[in-house]
Every structure is written in structure tokens, then in C-alpha cells.
């Protein structure tokens, strides 16, 4: 396993900037997610680390060795492709053994290692199967086995779970984490699914339009997104526009929204609140803690979804969303005037 360092990398395709001065560090043995909408450059970055694409400027270092001019064959990486790219003319064992046979590893050694890795991905009984006989989940595991059997320095995964259906995906997430812990290879994967990024990775990097917007642990990104984009891309958020003043942010209806110690003021013009952090109170309910931020709004729509309910509210012409955990009370009827309240610690200042 090795540390991967991407240093100020840029790539241009004709008119568009696929990557714009991106720097990111992947520590040894970690599981990293690159998250972003399509066109954000995340796949380009992955392929650049792999060696299929070369940066116009910048450096890529694996184990402190500059590799940005090395072709993929010489970088000793392992890659799992979105469509798995298993060789149809070979069976499972031969597919997995391919990387080893290319390196002229001894036959008995190949057999041993292939057996080992197929056991690891729980396909120990499938050596002789042909690719077309495998299910989607099985193919994915073969692709994974094939990529790690050569003990690469870095493991790269391109949307590893997107081709699987929902239930399989959850299982595979657990599997992937387990295997990654086991082999302890620095792993980087690319996804557009924020839930996947949150559950799978140690750290996540959010990309947009070729730029790295923010990087951190799942918790950090969720609790303290730095930008409106990060706040709305990773989870839901209500965005309020306003102006910073001493003590808080003055929003459009004149209220002063206070924020807690986790946020630092630096010319932000918006603040965000997660829907599940807001409490709803009707006039008939008791008083709201005075330290909380407070807004009055009208219920426009409500949806009952078992575990919780979602309310859409109208405040000064803007739609706000609130998630409320179901505690047995009736739904607040549409049209009611309610008070939204949340603790200042849950106000996030964003750019």
C-alpha cells in the first residue's frame, strides 16, 4: 500500500477544463471516495491516477515517486471498471490470474494466490466458471479479485456499485469495506451517489466542474459543508440568504439567525439548516427554547413516510423542508401556521 499525492493537477479538453488545479492526498491504506455530479471531473481524476490520462500540468506521486508520465502498465495499480471488463474468453480463475501471468509469476504460486483471493471474495467454488454464467454481484467480485491479486500499490474503482440493484448494493458496500480492511490497499473510488460516498469511505472529496470543492470525513462534510453546493449535494439543506452582522446573519425577513461555535464567519452570504434539525411547533404547543432560532411559516404539503414525515413550508415565498420523526402525533394539517426552530449550533454558514 502506498500514499497517493495529487498535486495541482489540471487537464483541458478543447474548450472545457476537466480538472482545474486539483490537489488531494490519499493516505496509506485509506478508503477514499470521489463524489460529484457527472462532468465534475471525478472519473478523469481517477483515470489520471491510473495512467490512462496524463495531466497537462501538475504532479501525481505514488509512494513519493512521480508517476504522472508513466503509462498505466508500469504504475502497479489495480482497477475495477464500471462494467467490470472481465475477459469473456477466459474463465474466472484465468481472469484473476491474468495480472500474475503477465508478470511471469510461477504457476504454482499463481494457483495459490488465485485461490487465496477468490476465497477472500467468497467465490472459492467458482474457479472454472465462465464469465457469462456469473451474476452481476459475482462478476463484481471477480473484477475485484483480479485487481487485488497482484498486490497493487493503489486500488481504483470506477462507480463500483452503480450496476447493482439496491439490495445487492448494500451487501456489497459491507463486503467492499471488509475486503479493503483485509488487504489494506490505498483505495480510491468514484461515485455520483452521495449515500455510497458517505457509508463507504473514510474520507470524501467533492468535485464540481473540475474543482475539488471540499474534502474531509463524511461527518465533517455533512456537518460543516463549506458551500451551498456541498450542503445540498450531500444531504438535504434549507438555504437562507442574508448578510453577516455581529451576532448572526440577518435574513430577508429581518430576523437574525444565530450560529454556534462550529461555524466561523468569513463573508458568507448564506446559511444552511438540515431539515432533520428543525422542530415544528404549533401555536397551541408550548414555548420554544429561547436560545433557538425561530421562523414562522405555513404548511404547504406533508408526506407521511413511516419512520418520519416530511413537511414542505412556505416562508416569504421560499420553500423550506423539514423532516420530523414520527412520535405518534397527528400530522400538522396543510395551511397551518407553524414555528420552525433550531439550535444555533445547527446553523451552517456556507458560501
Amino acid at each position: 500500500m502506498a500514499e497517493v499525492n495529487v498535486i495541482k493537477v489540471s487537464k483541458q479538453y478543447g474548450e472545457s477544463r476537466a480538472l482545474d488545479d486539483v490537489s488531494i492526498r490519499f493516505a496509506e491504506g485509506g478508503l477514499y471516495g470521489l463524489l460529484g455530479p457527472s462532468g465534475s471531473g471525478k472519473t478523469t481524476l481517477l483515470r489520471m491516477i491510473a495512467g490512462f490520462v496524463f495531466p497537462d500540468s501538475g504532479q501525481i506521486r505514488i509512494d513519493d515517486q512521480p508517476v504522472e508520465r508513466l503509462p498505466v502498465e508500469r504504475r502497479e495499480i489495480g482497477m475495477v471498471f464500471q462494467n467490470y471488463a472481465l475477459f469473456p474468453n477466459m474463465n474466472v480463475a484465468d481472469n484473476v490470474a491474468f495480472g500474475l501471468s503477465v508478470r511471469h509469476v510461477d504457476k504454482s504460486e499463481i494457483k495459490r494466490r488465485v485461490g487465496e483471493v477468490l476465497d477472500l471474495v467468497q467465490l472459492g467454488s467458482m474457479h472454472g466458471r465462465r464469465i457469462h454464467q456469473l451474476s452481476g454481484g459475482q462478476r463484481q467480485r471477480v473484477a475485484l479479485a483480479r485487481a487485488i491479486v497482484t498486490r497493487p500499490r493503489v486500488l481504483l474503482l470506477d462507480e463500483p456499485l452503480s450496476a447493482l440493484d439496491k439490495s445487492l448494493r448494500v451487501d456489497m458496500q459491507v463486503e467492499l469495506r471488509r475486503i479493503q480492511r483485509d488487504v489494506a490497499i490505498t483505495t480510491v473510488f468514484v461515485t455520483h451517489d452521495q449515500e455510497e460516498a458517505l457509508t463507504l469511505s473514510d474520507r470524501v472529496g467533492i468535485l464540481r466542474d473540475g474543482k475539488l470543492i471540499q474534502e474531509g470525513t463524511a461527518r465533517e462534510l455533512y456537518d460543516q459543508p463549506a458551500s451551498e453546493f456541498a450542503a445540498t449535494f450531500l444531504g438535504d439543506a434549507n438555504i437562507l440568504n442574508g448578510r453577516l452582522e455581529t451576532g448572526g446573519m440577518r435574513i430577508d425577513d429581518g430576523s437574525l439567525i444565530r450560529f454556534g461555535s462550529r461555524s466561523t464567519a468569513s463573508n458568507q452570504t448564506k446559511c444552511a439548516v438540515r431539515p432533520e434539525k428543525i422542530a415544528l411547533a404549533r401555536a397551541a404547543d408550548g414555548p420554544v427554547p429561547s436560545a433557538d432560532n425561530r421562523l414562522t411559516a405555513q404548511v404547504v404539503h406533508h408526506v407521511f413516510a413511516g419512520i418520519n414525515s416530511t413537511y414542505m413550508l412556505d416562508w416569504c415565498g421560499q420553500r423550506l423542508k423539514v423532516h420530523v420523526q414520527n412520535s405518534g402525533d397527528d400530522l400538522i394539517p396543510v395551511g397551518s401556521k407553524v414555528t420552525l426552530s433550531w439550535s444555533p449550533d445547527n446553523t451552517i454558514l456556507v458560501h
Binding site: 483541458q12 479538453y13 478543447g14 483515470r47 490520462v53 496524463f54 497537462d56 503509462p71
Partner: protein
């Protein structure tokens, strides 16, 4: 399949050979680029090989020397002689007429058969589909001679009608395959929808299906025309000496000892055939895009 705007899978750091804009590579030279250039050159050489004799023949058809000798003196004398050559002209018209009839018959029959395969699953379907291949796979020598024997045995004998019989049989598999391929892009739901709106079978075929597969049908028809017009072997065996098709006539002329008129008519044929297929490819592609 995602098209990556990068070096192709086997090229090291070299720009993909295409007309699309590419990013300049940092390396001045690489094995990949060299191989790519050699490969491109190879393709050009192959194309050169394929067109060399054709171009030479076209050139010679406009060359004054009756012995095909250089240096080159331009003339349209041979084309004029061609216009006066009654035998070759008659053969040309016969070829065209037969080709048109072949096209008509094989297209109608072929489209019908294709529709049958498309709409219905029935016992023996696989067998029938497999039976399309023997006519295409068996050497025309054998098919042609077999036809000769059979037509004589049942009293049809040789002649233009026999040739037509043969040509349609040869063209049918191609039409069925081409139209079949087009039908595969046609959604069966459209016919069901038309039926739910009350249309009868014939109306559905005429107003829904055929318009949708029209490019495929036209491609198939042009295929049939090309197969018939260019057909030599079968026509050769089934021809009456006095009344033959153009390729057979050209063959006799060559065997007797050639005149440059043959170059002229050959050039014309090549231009017509290739031109037709050029049109097919345009149509077929645009049809396929939909």
C-alpha cells in the same frame, strides 16, 4: 460505451488518430505513435491495392491506344464505340431489366418473410432461418449448375426467365437479412398500439410497419439490385447464347480477345455499382441512427 477523449486503449500518450480535437502530448515521440502511423499507412496501402486495378482500368478506358499502351492520350472514342455497339448495349439493358424485376420480386417476398420472422414464433422458425444460409454459402458454381439441370429437367430450360428465377433466389437471403436487421430496431409495441386502435393487419403493415422500416427495405432493394446486376456465375450457366446479361457478354468478349470498349463498359459498371452501394450506406446509416 463511453468514448474517452484520450489516447486510444493501446496508444501510449499519442493523440488518437481522428479529426476530433485532441490535447497535445508532452512526449515528442512514442512507440504508440509510431505504430499508429505505420498502421495508418498500412490501411492506405491496402486501399491503394484495392483500387489500383480499377483506377487503371478507368484510365485505360479513356486512353487512345487500342493496345493499352502508355503514354496516355485522352479520348472518349471507346465510350462512343460503346454507344454504337449493339450487342453490349442490348446486354446492358437486359441486365438492368432483370435486375429491376429481381429487385421488385425479391424485395416483396423478402420483406414478407422478414415480417413473418419478426411477428411470429412458430415451430420450425429456427430451421427456416438457418435455411437462408446454404444459398449464400454454397459456391455459385454448384448452385448455378444445379439450377441448369433442374430447369432443363422441368422444361423451363435456359434464358432470361431462368436467369430471373436464379437471381431472385440469390438475392432473397440478403434482403431478408438486411430487412430483418432493420426490424430488430422496430418496437413491436407500435403494431400492438395500432391494433388496439382498430387497424387491420394490412393497414398496420402498410401504414405503421413499412414506413418505419423503409430505410431497411430500400437498403435491401439496392442490395438485391447489386446482387442481380453484378451476378456472373449463375447467369453464365443459365444464359441462352444469343440473349445474355452484361457480365456474361463481357466475359465472352474478353475470351475472344478484348477491345478497349470492354474497359469502357466495365468502368461504367463499376461506377454504377459502387455508386449504388454508396447510396445504400448513407440511407442505411441514417435509418440505423433512428
Amino acid at each position: 460505451m463511453k468514448q474517452h477523449n484520450t489516447a486510444g486503449p493501446l496508444e501510449l500518450d499519442s493523440p488518437t488518430i481522428s479529426t476530433a480535437p485532441h490535447t497535445p502530448s508532452r512526449r515528442p515521440w512514442s512507440v504508440g505513435a509510431a505504430l499508429g502511423a505505420i498502421g495508418y499507412g498500412y490501411v492506405v496501402v491496402v486501399i491503394g491495392f484495392l483500387y489500383l486495378p480499377i483506377l487503371v482500368m478507368a484510365l485505360m478506358s479513356a486512353n487512345a491506344s487500342p493496345l493499352y499502351e502508355l503514354p496516355f492520350h485522352f479520348t472518349i472514342h471507346w465510350y462512343q464505340a460503346l454507344a454504337d455497339d449493339g450487342v453490349l448495349k442490348a446486354a446492358a439493358f437486359r441486365s438492368i431489366e432483370i435486375a429491376l424485376w429481381t429487385t421488385l420480386l425479391s424485395t416483396i417476398l423478402g420483406v414478407m418473410a422478414s415480417l413473418a420472422f419478426f411477428r411470429y414464433d412458430f415451430a420450425g422458425k429456427r430451421f427456416l432461418q438457418a435455411m437462408l444460409f446454404p444459398p449464400m454459402a454454397i459456391p455459385w458454381l454448384i448452385t448455378g449448375t444445379a439450377m441448369l439441370i433442374f430447369f432443363f429437367a422441368i422444361g423451363i430450360g435456359r434464358g432470361l426467365h431462368a436467369i430471373l428465377l436464379g437471381h431472385v433466389a440469390l438475392a432473397l437471403p440478403y434482403v431478408i437479412i438486411v430487412v430483418g436487421a432493420r426490424l430488430r430496431t422496430f418496437s413491436p409495441e407500435l403494431e400492438l398500439a395500432a391494433r388496439s386502435l382498430g387497424a387491420s393487419g394490412w393497414q398496420i403493415t402498410w401504414r405503421v410497419t413499412l414506413p418505419a422500416i423503409a430505410p431497411g427495405v430500400v437498403a435491401g432493394a439496392l442490395f438485391a439490385f447489386a446482387v442481380s446486376f453484378d451476378q456472373f456465375v449463375v447467369s453464365y450457366f443459365l444464359s441462352d447464347p444469343g440473349e445474355t446479361t452484361l457480365p456474361v457478354e463481357i466475359y465472352s468478349a474478353i475470351r475472344k480477345g478484348f477491345t478497349p470498349e470492354i474497359n469502357a463498359i466495365s468502368t461504367i459498371i463499376i461506377v454504377v455499382s459502387m455508386g449504388t452501394m454508396l447510396i445504400v450506406s448513407r440511407l442505411y446509416r441514417f435509418g440505423g441512427e433512428q
